[in-house]
């Protein structure tokens, strides 16, 4: 009887409003603003490379995109499912060398070799997933470290695809038939290789983000977060926790592989030692600094972590205390080659201390402030909610 008394007042317009909202929550774009944002984003993917002439900036944009894809994969595993891995670089390597084999040696077309790097990355992850997911916490990290060394060993010894220690060159085809990203001609204007690649890479970033948002808003995404929050309770709710963790690992590996394939397309020369502990750490730092378990975290993290060292190197002469080669000038300063390490470390410490939710959280807060400025009465609605 107490129930009927308390339930009744809730059956009001409030309920109707909530009801109508539930339809949209699994949708890709929850609001009109997001739909516009998505359209603008797609437009930028084409507009930026075609209007920015500076090849250095375009190439930097490509690098950011590639690292973002690898970090999007890692974010699924570490951010949503809560399983930490330093070994994402191994799957980037698997993708890169699969690219060498399929695009370089076999000379397959883009629509074959690029999806293949995605699938092969996922398959490689499927092989090791059952091992790493048996462990938790620190043991998992240690095992992923081991995985890096095993991966490097295998790469170095598969000389046909990897060139051993000396690296290997490949020129993957980037043609879709009607459109060649490697040799882009729009309206009679010919664009550079990196400009075309920029479009391809950022289309992949967009597709990866959309795929992950779709997963996040549905059953699989909730299962991953449930495992991260309380694994036993997730099992009791009927979630096959081992199965979900293995799938998350495979997804991470697949996006890593895709990033590797694109990295090969960018550099056209890859070397086994690129895919070691440094890249593994860098990717994890990207995910953490950007914000674990957020949609934009990997992209924002990649922009910060992979751009700043490159920018610092490029513009070293304008930045105080930064020396290209201070052994000769005799002045005291930070050598340019080590700025990257310094920035990873600094960024990680600052984010951990001041904003463990990652930089993307600032963007979220900023966005919410903008929105509440736009419509003044919305803030009143939020106050009423006991959150």
């Amino acid at each position: 009887m107490a129930i009927t008394e308390t339930v009744k007042p809730v059956r009001t317009a409030h309920v109707q409003r909530e009801r109508s909202r539930t339809k949209d929550e699994s949708q890709l774009c929850v609001s009109k603003g997001q739909r516009i944002g998505l359209a603008v984003g797609f437009l930028l993917i084409f507009a930026v490379p075609l209007s920015v002439g500076n090849p250095f900036l375009i190439s930097l944009g490509v690098t950011i995109g590639i690292y973002a894809i690898a970090a999007i994969g890692l974010n699924v595993l570490s951010g949503y499912a809560g399983q930490i891995s330093l070994a994402q670089s191994v799957f980037v390597g698997v993708g890169a060398f699969a690219g060498v084999a399929l695009a370089g040696l076999a000379e397959l077309p883009l629509l074959v070799w690029l999806p293949a790097t995605f699938i092969i990355g996922g398959l490689a992850a499927a092989i090791v997933a059952p091992l790493t997911l048996r462990l938790k916490g620190v043991f998992q990290i240690v095992l992923s470290l081991g995985l890096i060394f095993v991966g490097t060993y295998i790469f170095v010894n598969s000389t046909v695809f990897t060139g051993g220690n000396s690296g290997i060159s490949a020129s993957p085809a980037l043609s879709l038939g009607f459109m060649d990203f490697g040799n882009l001609v729009v309206g009679g204007m010919a664009y550079g290789y990196q400009q075309g690649l920029f479009i391809l890479v950022w289309l992949c970033v967009a597709a990866s983000m959309i795929a992950v948002v779709n997963m996040h808003r549905t059953r699989f995404g909730r299962s991953m977060i449930a495992i991260r929050e309380a694994e036993t309770a997730a099992q009791i709710a009927g979630i096959n926790t081992n199965g979900v963790k293995v799938k998350a690992f495979i997804i991470a590996g697949a996006f890593g592989g895709l990033a590797g394939g694109l990295l090969l397309a960018q550099l056209r020369y890859v070397q086994t030692h690129q895919f070691g502990i440094n890249m593994g750490l860098e990717l994890l730092i990207i995910a953490v600094v950007g914000g674990l378990g957020t949609t934009w975290g990997p992209v924002i993290g990649a922009a910060i972590i992979s751009a700043i060292p490159v920018l610092a190197t490029q513009y070293a002469e304008y930045i105080p205390f930064l020396q290209e080669d201070f052994s000769q000038s005799g002045e005291i300063g930070i050598p340019v080659g080590q700025v990257g390490l310094l920035i990873y470390g600094l960024a990680l410490v600052l984010v951990m201390v001041f904003e463990p939710r990652g930089v993307s959280h600032w963007f979220k807060i900023g966005g919410e402030k903008l929105r509440s400025l736009g419509s003044g009465n919305r803030a009143v609605v939020d106050v009423r909610k006991p959150s």
Partner: protein, 267 residues
């Protein structure tokens, strides 16, 4: 519907459950009573597959022992935890949707490519979750993050999460622990209402003797992993072993317990 036979659970040399036998009928509200360390939660852990005991547990004729927790959930058994089994960073609605995991279709790949049937099933689950929240009077906190809610509401969310899987058997582990009298009363109303509406069979662990005596159809009393009494509240109230185990064996407290239990019955 639930048959437990010669159930035995050991941790190292410690015997947590010693040859426990009982059965629960369809639609019953079956309570498990016992002092701390009697093996009540261990018994629940056996029922939900978190530990591997010896003996036999059958639900609707299907053996539970040896199955994984998520497989047992799929057999229609849901449970709550003594210290809350919620997902703290998720909203109330999301918690309930995790609870209805088994009712929703779709995996990682089909969701990623926006396969239409996945999203149909998703929308249906959201509608069901809203109905459940309405029943449990949770719509007001629908989009609140669980960690920010008061304890009493979180307990209600956990029940909603458990019944979202449309179970036939619901295991409640000390659902009113830490609640005051008024909160307990409201909570019991919710549980009884849910039981009626969804046709649930409930097994309940509880320390609140008065409450158990009032609402349970039958009671199983445990002490040191052994069954010391099984029967209706009136029978348990007369059982001397239960009285001794629950409040100590001195004559004075015996009298007090009987008073307490009689008071509960007549209430």
């Amino acid at each position: 519907m639930l048959n437990v036979e010669s159930l035995r659970l050991e941790f190292g040399g410690v015997v947590a459950l010693k040859d426990v036998d009982f059965s629960v009928e369809m639609g019953e509200l079956f309570a498990i009573l016992g002092p701390n360390g009697a093996g009540k939660t261990s018994l629940f852990n056996c029922l939900s597959g978190l530990v591997k005991p010896k003996g036999s547990i059958q639900v609707n004729g299907n053996e539970v022992i040896g199955k994984k927790p998520h497989e047992i959930a799929d057999m229609g058994i849901a449970r709550t935890f003594q210290n809350l089994g919620l997902f703290g960073s998720m909203t109330v609605a999301e918690n309930i949707l995790v609870g209805s995991h088994l009712q929703i279709q779709g995996g990682a790949f089909t969701a990623a490519i926006r396969w239409p049937s996945v999203f149909r099933s998703e929308r249906q689950a959201r509608r069901n979750a809203d109905e459940l929240m309405e029943l449990m009077n949770l719509l007001e906190v629908r989009d609140s993050v669980v960690d920010t809610l008061p304890y009493g509401i979180r307990k209600r969310v956990e029940i909603a999460k458990a019944v979202a899987s449309k179970p036939s058997l619901l295991l409640l582990d000390e659902p009113v622990a830490g609640m005051n009298h008024e909160e307990t009363e409201t909570f019991v109303e919710y549980v009884l209402e849910l039981k009626k509406q969804l046709g649930l069979t409930i097994v309940l662990i509880e320390h609140d003797v008065a409450m158990v005596m009032r609402i349970a159809d039958r009671i199983l009393a445990l002490d040191f992993g052994e069954v010391i009494g099984l029967g209706t509240p009136a029978e348990i109230q007369q059982n001397e072993r239960v009285i001794a185990a629950y409040l100590g064996a001195t004559d004075e407290s015996d009298a007090q317990t009987e008073l307490l239990m009689e008071g509960a019955i007549s209430e």
